[in-house]
């Protein structure tokens, strides 16, 4: 069995978001780039599955669509334990374009499980994973909080409103994963960092594909009014304010 984990290169989640060029692009000045948190958890789970598989899972690959500056993120994934990596050398124009590029590579390599994070922490699309499944015409399960392989059967837990569903799924599939898929992301070991340098990283150019959407510009939320402080001895006042002023009670 082979697993592919899709990675998005995103600004560190504590980044103070700013825009430039008349609010038409993200200001990356001084920004730290990281593996999208959900993708990092997906990679962690993929490696756990491989280690627990008695050799059934032979390979965990990672892929990203991005220019050369995304390479530290790819190398980090290799240092964490991925066996090899793919980078499609292009700006990820939109989700449709990005998913198409990943699907093109996946078609050649026939992975059994493709992991994608539920969304990227920058554009919050929640799109790429499920789009890949449609391009490949394979099944997809979203909101996945656990994946296990038992007797060559893939068992998936899906979050639903107010509960969980347990599913058996036939490979190949795309699992769009969220919190719970792994508890803590793995941290690269010193040995991992050393071996990452020599692991295969295949760089290819993008295949022609239209993008269907474009980001025109950005805006920051309106600053909130000042917080009204209420004395801890007078919580009745709070109740009245919520009722009469905020009108939420």
């Amino acid at each position: 069995m082979k697993i592919l984990v899709c990675l998005s290169n995103v600004p560190d989640t504590t980044t103070k978001v700013r825009f430039k060029d008349n609010n038409t692009s993200f200001d990356a000045n001084g920004v730290q780039w990281i593996i999208n948190p959900w993708d990092e958890l997906a990679l962690t789970r993929a490696l756990e599955l491989k280690e627990g598989s008695n050799g059934v899972i032979t390979n965990v690959s990672v892929i990203t669509v991005g220019e050369a500056f995304a390479e530290p993120t790819i190398r980090k994934a290799l240092a964490i334990g991925a066996d090899n990596a793919y980078r499609v050398n292009s700006i990820p124009k939109d989700a449709f374009f990005t998913a198409f590029q990943i699907a093109e590579i996946a078609k050649k390599e026939s992975f059994d499980i493709i992991f994608a994070g539920i969304e990227s922490s920058d554009y919050n699309g929640s799109m790429v994973g499920s789009m890949i499944s449609e391009f490949l015409n394979i099944s997809s399960v979203s909101s996945v909080s656990a994946v296990n392989i038992e007797n060559n059967e893939i068992k998936v837990t899906r979050e639903i409103p107010g509960g969980k569903e347990f599913l058996n799924v036939t490979a190949p599939l795309v699992a769009v994963v969220q919190k719970g898929i792994a508890i803590n992301p793995r941290i690269p070991s010193m040995r991992g960092i050393m071996t990452a340098r020599t692991k295969p990283l295949t760089v290819s150019e993008a295949v022609a594909c239209d993008s269907l959407t474009e980001f025109v510009n950005y805006e920051l939320p309106q600053p909130k009014g000042k917080c009204k402080m209420i004395s801890a001895d007078n919580v009745k006042e709070l109740v009245q304010l919520l009722h009469n002023e905020a009108k939420v009670l």
């Binding site: 989640t13 504590t14 978001v17 825009f19 959900w38 939109d94 989700a95 449709f96 539920i118 969304e119 554009y123 919050n124 699309g125 929640s126 799109m127 499920s130 789009m131 499944s133 449609e134 099944s139 997809s140 399960v141 979203s142 909101s143 979050e159 409103p161 107010g162 509960g163 969980k164 569903e165 347990f166 599913l167 058996n168 799924v169 599939l173 769009v176 919190k179 993008s211 269907l212 474009e214 980001f215 025109v216 950005y218 805006e219 920051l220 939320p221 009014g225 917080c227 009204k228 402080m229 209420i230 801890a232 919580v235 009745k236 709070l238 919520l242 009722h243 905020a246 939420v248 009670l249």
Partner: protein, 324 residues
Amino acid sequence: MSVLVYTENWDGKFKKSTFELLSYANEIAKKLNTETIGISIGNVSTDELSNLGNYGANKVLSFSDSRISSLENTVFSSIISQAAIKVGAQVIILSNNLTGKAIAPRLSVKLKAGLVSAVVALPSSVEPFEVKKKAFTGSAFANVKVNSAIKILTLSQNSYQINQSEDVAIVENFEATINNADFKTKVTDTQKTTGKIILNDAEIIVSGGRGMKGPENWGAIEELASVLGAGTACSRPVSDEGWRSHDEHVGQTGKIVAPNLYFAIGISGAVQHVAGVSGSKCIVAVNTDKDATVFEVADYGIVGDARQVLPSLIEAFKEFKAEH
């Protein structure tokens, strides 16, 4: 020509988020000078379906098939795309909930239709088609232009006001072709949390953080929630410590919520937590530290120890509830 809405049902009933979608869609349909059509999948009574007219649907297509017992993304996206082709949908609208996120991307590829997710407002223009969405997990918004002939939007919950009327929708049975081979997932078991309010549906949420000091103090959070008919939630450290279960974790990597009223009790207000609750209409914060960042995003604040403030809050809300 039309605006098509996937009208999701839960055990045969529609909820507020479906009504929001229809009211939103109807406004776009007016701009495009066309009608609003719903597509329903599963067993729903004709009354329930025709009532969707109250919220803006002119017509509802109803599809049901005994093979469908759970969300099969391949099948659902295929049915909706067949409906979209049949009614000549220019715009397709789904909720930005778990289901919408699972189906909309497949639909986008099937129809080669540009998709914008987590939309928060009506399109600022329909020609060219431009609409505002959440970005950077609540820290910003982006205006996105869709260049394809068909446009797909997933609407963020609680971001559009419901418009209600006396109108009823025409209900039609819809025939779609689905193949046995498309059913590739099999639900073997379901686990439902009973007696708890589902966070994504909750109008009020009471959330506790590390300031609660330990799981043994959660009784007061639960009591306040029960007085208010609210859901309970927690911050990340609380779920990481195992004080509360992971499905209560609200924040950037947990659940994103947007209730009318959010209580942050003993939560310092880390940027990741705020990202998950910034869509709330009103935030009340209780914290011992008057400089805690949570007060920067809160509408009302109380400085004090959560464990001491909670009992008086419970008392005051009980009194209020008794009077109203």
